[in-house]
């Protein structure tokens, strides 16, 4: 990761970082084009592609009808035809309408064709809750997609990753799904002037610590970092591991962190049952069982469709104080 400092960087939002990544891709890769609902004239439903239509025109910034399966499939076909499509889906809930194309085609074609046909597509979509958008715009299904061999699943949780993952994903020969948490778009920070492509395979330690590993990704990363601050006030040193990629999962980094801290909390905005933290927990059990001083804990979304009312929504999803509480109990049981 390139370090950013105020002297060498500039203040920018996550949304602008993604936009810069798309602009960079369209500028440098003549095979790249952006396609999705309202990405052109409207500027993207979350404003990510604002201005790109004027810059690159209707062929390369292409509005689609409300046909998720159709245009995602068309993106896969275009990838088979040698292009590097960037397909935007408004939210992961809508991506379920394209599940057939993503799972039955994008993830299987290389295999079914005996290695002949790869699918170099990038599919970006918004995920996550926290904006009072209720139960059909707020869910986190990236863990589902991470179940599927043939897909790569990445979850930029920082400005550097928002800026840098797209290019790497676009040059990858296989389908890559990028999950952008909707709550991050407005987050501001300093991005180094020379920020560029980053790898999409490995996890990153965002804060070093000795007492407990807080393992998370994407939209829960800022909340987990705040939880680590709260824990520090109590004298607990928490390490924050940002998974960055949910498939592949960087098992080595997970096990190495647990070997340092001997305790782990896995935080995810998806539901607990059958979710990604269950997988992380199982890998810790398989690979670092004798390192553990306490059972692995999970902080996940409550098992309810995300409610509209703000207080209920906030109660349903992981928050800094809740993460800190669970970690504290793990480090100082009953304390």
């Amino acid at each position: 990761m390139s370090a950013s400092s105020p002297e060498q960087g500039r203040t920018i939002t996550y949304r602008e970082a993604v936009r810069e990544a798309i602009r960079d891709a369209l500028t440098r890769d003549e095979l790249a084009f952006l396609m999705g609902e309202d990405v052109a004239s409207y500027g993207g439903c979350f404003g990510v592609s604002h201005g790109l239509f004027d810059e690159f025109g209707p062929e390369r910034v292409r509005d689609t009808p409300l046909s998720e399966s159709g245009y995602v499939g068309a993106g896969i076909g275009a990838a088979l035809g040698g292009m590097h499509p960037i397909v935007e889906i408004m939210t992961v809930n809508f991506a379920l309408l394209a599940l057939d194309q993503i799972v039955n085609n994008a993830a299987t074609l290389l295999h079914m064709s005996g290695g002949q046909l790869n699918v170099p597509i990038v599919i970006r979509m918004t995920t996550g809750a926290g904006r009072q958008l209720a139960a059909q715009h707020s869910h986190s299904f990236e863990g589902w997609f991470a179940h599927v061999p043939g897909l790569r699943i990445v979850t930029p949780g920082t400005l550097e990753d928002a800026r840098g993952m797209l290019w790497t994903a676009l040059q990858d020969p296989d389908p890559v799904l990028i999950f952008e948490h909707g709550g991050l778009y407005g987050v501001e920070g300093v991005l180094a002037d020379d920020a560029g492509p980053v790898d999409i395979d490995v996890a990153a330690v965002r804060r070093a610590g000795d007492d407990v590993s807080l393992i998370t990704y994407g939209g829960c990363l800022p909340r987990t970092l705040r939880a680590a601050e709260l824990l520090a006030e109590d004298g607990i040193s928490a390490e924050v591991l940002d998974l960055r990629s949910l498939r592949p999962l960087d098992t080595d980094a997970i096990l190495a962190s647990v070997a340092r801290t001997h305790r782990a909390v896995v935080i995810d905005e998806g539901w607990r049952s059958g979710g990604l933290p269950a997988e992380v927990s199982a890998r810790i059990m398989e690979g670092a069982f004798y390192e553990l001083d306490a059972p692995v804990a999970r902080v996940c979304a409550a098992e309810v469709p995300v409610p509209f009312a703000q207080h209920l929504e906030q109660a349903a999803i992981p928050r800094a104080d809740g993460i800190a509480r669970v970690a504290r109990e793990l480090v100082r049981p009953g304390g």
Partner: protein, 336 residues
Amino acid sequence: MTTAPPTTQLPLAPGLDGEGARHLLQEMIRIRRFEERCVELYSATKIRGFMHLYIGEEAVATGAMQALRPEDAVLATYREHGHALARGISARAVMAEMYGRVEGCSGGRGGSMHLFDAQARFYGGSAIVAAGLPLAVGLALADHLSGRDRVTAAFFGEGAVAEGEFHESMNLAALWSLPVVFFCENNLYAMGTALARSESQTDLVLKAASYRVAGWSVDGMDVLACRAAAQRAVDLTAAGGGPCFVEFRTYRFRAHSMYDPELYRPKEEVARWKAHDPIDAFTARLRATGYLDDAALETMEAEVSAEIDDAVAFAEAGTLEPVEDLLRHVYRRGAA
């Protein structure tokens, strides 16, 4: 008895001489005999899994494929042995795939329903009804964006018109004026469900018209009619006229798959359609016009038989992929 072909004849169709006509017949016979052999091999448990036969429908793939150039792309369904053979994938590679061997056209990873050949621009072999149609739109979009003069042909059954992906794909192709030809093989049954039992509007050409896609129906049991209809569609599309839709009215003589007791259609109906067997009909036509005699037909059958024998021997001698290679072909870059 043999009859010498007359020295002067009118062509059966524009651009089709006697040799071309006999080639069409031989292609249909080749597909028929290949699948008949597959049935025997299935009964002998050499071939396993789902297997969907094209027998009865050979005129469609044979005729339509004539209109496509090597640079064009082809997509088909799980009932695609005929399309693969007609597209030029060798009988050896298809048979080896039926056997699940490394030498198969999909390396043994696809099987009967997933025949692929990147060189032939044959993009499967899809077993999700209508799921190949958006891919066809995308392949055509790639050609459009790259300024390449190519056409993408998507073969699909009439059952696909009930799927949203059919409608989304028709709309996208028409909206963006993409060079896709939609070749609908209407064999009257989506597995066991008759068209009229699943569609409020059974006129498929009207569905195409609702998307401003030019379309027409053709006798799918007549190889020359299929050839002409496909050529018309490809010519229109290649000239920049946007997508076209052709409904080939055809019939599947055999069961849906090897597990189908055929409870849903009367035997008399099957018999009625078999009276219009595309191979018998074209054979009779070529005989009547003097393009074919007994000797030529015998030679044809012998050549086809030898090719299939060779393909079976090739498949029998094929390699089983080592189990150590199980995880190959999931990612091109590394594992995940």
